[in-house]
């Protein structure tokens, strides 16, 4: 703890020095961000040379707060969630020195936004079933296939992509991980409309897309391992969100309750109180999880937190419609739009109800998370697997 106090003081000093040298009011936005990266003050828990200072992750909130208080521009993290939350840690862990050099800086500054090309119509929960093919051609790979559930694909410069490079191997072994240029003419992004009426995601059709072999991440055939690292990051970031009491859906519904005494009934009261308690317990559990992570004691609660988050969002938003009654029968707008960012608690109650249905599907279904908890945390026997040792091409699809 004494050590962290020292680190914290030192960090404050460095931020103050940086701000003295780069007046936020007088420096152009992207120059400021690049300088912050080069000073190792971007993601401080990354290593020196790649935007970081090798500090504990717990200090990141501190440095972000200091910059925000100084009125400095941020890197718009909400516009590049996949890049910051999933691509960056994976590139850091599996990338070559050249790849880290090339990709991390523009990723962090937001100059290059990233998206994710993992899921396919036939490969949802069973990601290892990907059928998108990548065939070696000299120093490049030629990629053909179809991906779905890609958010931000129309704004992205790059994608993290898994594709099958060897169909003669069993399914988990013939997959390779790539950093795919979204500007390639063979990339066709089409909006995928969802039950809310809007198209937050895309389908992405890949036709003879060329990726240089230098943009392969990890070894050929190692894509399963690399993509699992990516997904673990996703689950931690999805489950570990809110911190203030009544953040998120519980706050929305509690406000509705407070503002509409005329809608209250005894049964809705007890249901709301139960969910409020569950949400508060989830908040405290998340707080403990972050304390563990800050000490480098990653626990199994990441998957459990995502399960709970999804359940609460769904039950609370469903309750809100019943509470609203007549007003719950009305919707804001079914017009198909492509939203810039997702806001689970935004728009009207009907939207929140429908959008929350995705919370237990995206980023690993609740069923897959329960398998993970049961097998990896509780040590219960794995599901019988019939497809593990059979060459991919011979599997029944």
């Amino acid at each position: 703890m004494a050590d962290e106090t020292t680190q914290r003081a030192e960090l404050r000093r460095r931020v103050a020095d940086f701000l003295a040298a780069h007046d936020p009011a007088a420096t152009e936005r992207s120059a400021f961000l690049q300088a912050r990266y080069d000073a190792g003050l971007a993601w401080v828990y990354f290593p020196p040379g790649h935007g970081g200072s090798g500090l504990p992750r717990a200090l990141q909130a501190e440095v972000d707060r200091l910059f925000a208080e100084a009125g400095a521009p941020d890197n718009k993290p909400e516009s590049n969630g996949i890049g910051l939350g999933m691509a960056a840690p994976t590139i850091l862990r599996f990338g070559t020195e050249e790849q880290k050099e090339r990709f991390l800086r523009p990723l962090w500054t937001g100059e290059e936004v990233w998206c994710q090309l993992f899921s396919e119509p036939g490969a949802g929960s069973d990601l290892a079933a990907v059928a998108t093919r990548a065939v070696r051609d000299g120093d490049s790979w030629v990629v053909n296939g179809q991906k779905v559930w890609t958010s931000g694909a129309h704004n992205a410069a790059f994608a993290i992509l898994v594709a099958r490079t060897d169909p003669d191997l069993p399914k988990h072994q013939g997959i390779t991980y790539f950093l795919c240029p979204m500007t390639d003419p063979g990339v066709d992004v089409r909006p995928l409309r969802q039950i809310t009426g809007e198209a937050e995601f895309n389908e992405v059709f890949l036709t003879d897309v060329r990726i240089p072999d230098t943009q392969r991440l990890g070894a050929e055939g190692e894509g399963w391992k690399v993509s699992n690292a990516t997904l673990n990051n996703e689950r931690v970031s999805i489950g570990g969100g809110a911190v203030a009491r009544e953040s998120g859906m519980v706050g929305v519904v509690s406000r509705t309750w407070r503002e509409h005494p005329e809608l209250r009934t005894p049964e809705l009261h007890d249901r709301l109180l139960r969910l409020w308690v569950d949400a508060e317990v989830a908040r405290v559990t998340g707080r403990r999880l972050r304390q563990k992570l800050a000490l480098g004691q990653p626990g199994p609660e990441g998957s459990a937190a995502k399960l709970t988050f999804a359940r609460l969002a769904q039950q609370l938003s469903g309750l809100e419609l019943e509470l609203l009654g007549e007003a719950g029968l009305r919707y804001s707008d079914w017009t198909m739009v492509r939203p810039d960012k997702v806001d689970f608690t935004g728009r009207d109650a009907g939207y929140r109800y429908l959008r929350a249905k995705g919370n237990s599907i995206e980023g690993g279904t609740s069923e897959i998370l329960r398998n993970i908890i049961a097998e990896r945390v509780l040590g219960l026997p794995a599901e019988p697997r019939v497809d593990k040792d059979i060459p991919w091409k011979e599997l029944r699809k």
Binding site: L321, E322, E326, R330, Y331, L354, T365
Partner: protein
């Protein structure tokens, strides 16, 4: 209840199969989905075939007043099929609720409804419970009606509106031509039963019931009892579609429907849907028989079936996973219908609260 038959009758099975075949032909999910983008072309066409060609508009109208003289049991069979197809037709609003109001009146309008010359809607919010607050428009000395009622179901499809109006301590019911009202479409959670805000500014109407509160409440109660059958239809479609999909969908080298956790959830859902079916049927049978248990049976069915339909639709989305979240798959139509139906004619909670009085389980004194 010992003499009431809870099993499907032959008459009902025939009716059910005719309606089902017709909906399979004429109620394409893509055309239903188009309602959400403002294309309502399916509605009038489909209702014409059902109401006139099959004669469903007059199902509950006595033969001597030009109808079929069928009972709530047959109406429930129709509603279950309509629910199964999320059909966007005003059967519940015109042929059940408005028709039941008019059964208490000697208005010629009833025969016009039965003949499908007119389509009617009772002007109350869709969320109104049979035992809850009712709207009452102002009526002046000249019999001119003024006021607004929001979130009315069936108004967009109706050419005549049954308007509750204040009459002393009670409620009168007037029939007003829809053309004389402002019927403003509402962007609705469930566009397969799109709502409208109805405003009358001094419109004149025909007095159909001078003392109409009882008739209005009976009509809403009949609607609530039979809405349960629609909810069963929604739930059955969701369950069956999910089972079919999970038998085909393969992940991890196996049919997803073979994973035990999903099997057990589907088994529980099956038990719930079968129970909902029995509850809805008991409500319809007691209503048809004028059984003294009808009021309890309706409250029980509404307290139960609304939640089961929502659960079935929610489980269906979850178990379809990604594809269940898309606009392309019809599942979302059922989710929205189920959620709107849960609020329609009183939430399950409102029906439970009502039931507390009927079965002598009083609330805590406060």
């Amino acid at each position: 209840m010992s003499d009431l038959n809870l099993l499907t009758t032959d008459v009902e099975a025939d009716l059910r199969s005719v309606v089902r075949d017709l909906l399979a032909d004429r109620c394409d999910p893509a055309a239903v989905t188009a309602l959400y983008d403002g294309d309502r072309s399916i509605v009038a066409e489909l209702w014409k075939v059902l109401a006139a060609d099959l004669g469903l508009a007059g199902l509950l109208v006595p033969e001597e007043r030009g109808g079929d003289g069928a009972t709530a049991v047959e109406a429930a069979a129709v509603l279950e099929e309509l629910g199964r197809a999320v059909a966007p037709v005003p059967f519940l609003t015109s042929a059940v609720v408005a028709t039941t109001v008019l059964l208490d009146s000697d208005s010629e309008l009833l025969a016009a409804l039965a003949a499908n010359e007119r389509t009617a809607a009772l002007v109350v919010p869709l969320s109104a419970a049979p035992h809850g607050a009712l709207p009452a428009l102002r009526v002046d000395a000249d019999g001119r009606l003024t006021g607004t009622v929001t979130s009315v179901a069936g108004a967009l499809e109706a050419d005549v509106l049954l308007v509750p109006a204040a009459a002393g301590d009670g409620l009168a019911v007037y029939a007003v031509a829809a053309a004389d009202a402002v019927v403003a479409p509402v962007v609705s959670l469930d566009m397969t039963r799109q709502l409208a805000d109805v405003t009358l500014a001094g419109a004149t109407g025909e007095l159909v019931l001078a003392d109409g509160e009882g008739a209005v409440r009976r009509a809403l109660a009949a609607g609530a009892a039979l809405l349960a059958a629609e909810q069963v239809g929604v739930a059955r479609w969701c369950l069956q579609t999910t089972i079919d999909y999970l038998k085909e969908r393969r992940q991890f080298g196996r049919a997803v429907g073979g994973f035990q956790a999903l099997k057990h959830r589907l088994a529980d859902l099956f038990a719930d849907v079968e129970s909902a079916d029995a509850a809805a049927r008991y409500a319809a049978v007691t209503l048809a028989a004028g059984d003294p248990d009808a009021e309890i049976a309706a409250a029980v069915a509404q307290a139960y079936c609304g939640d089961v339909a929502v659960k079935a639709a929610e489980e269906a989305v979850q178990l379809h996973a990604g594809i269940g979240m898309t606009w392309e798959h019809p599942l979302h139509l059922y989710l929205k219908r189920a959620k709107a139906d849960q609020i329609a004619l009183g939430t399950p909670g409102a029906h439970r609260a009502r039931l507390a009085d009927l079965i002598d389980l009083p609330a805590a004194a406060s």
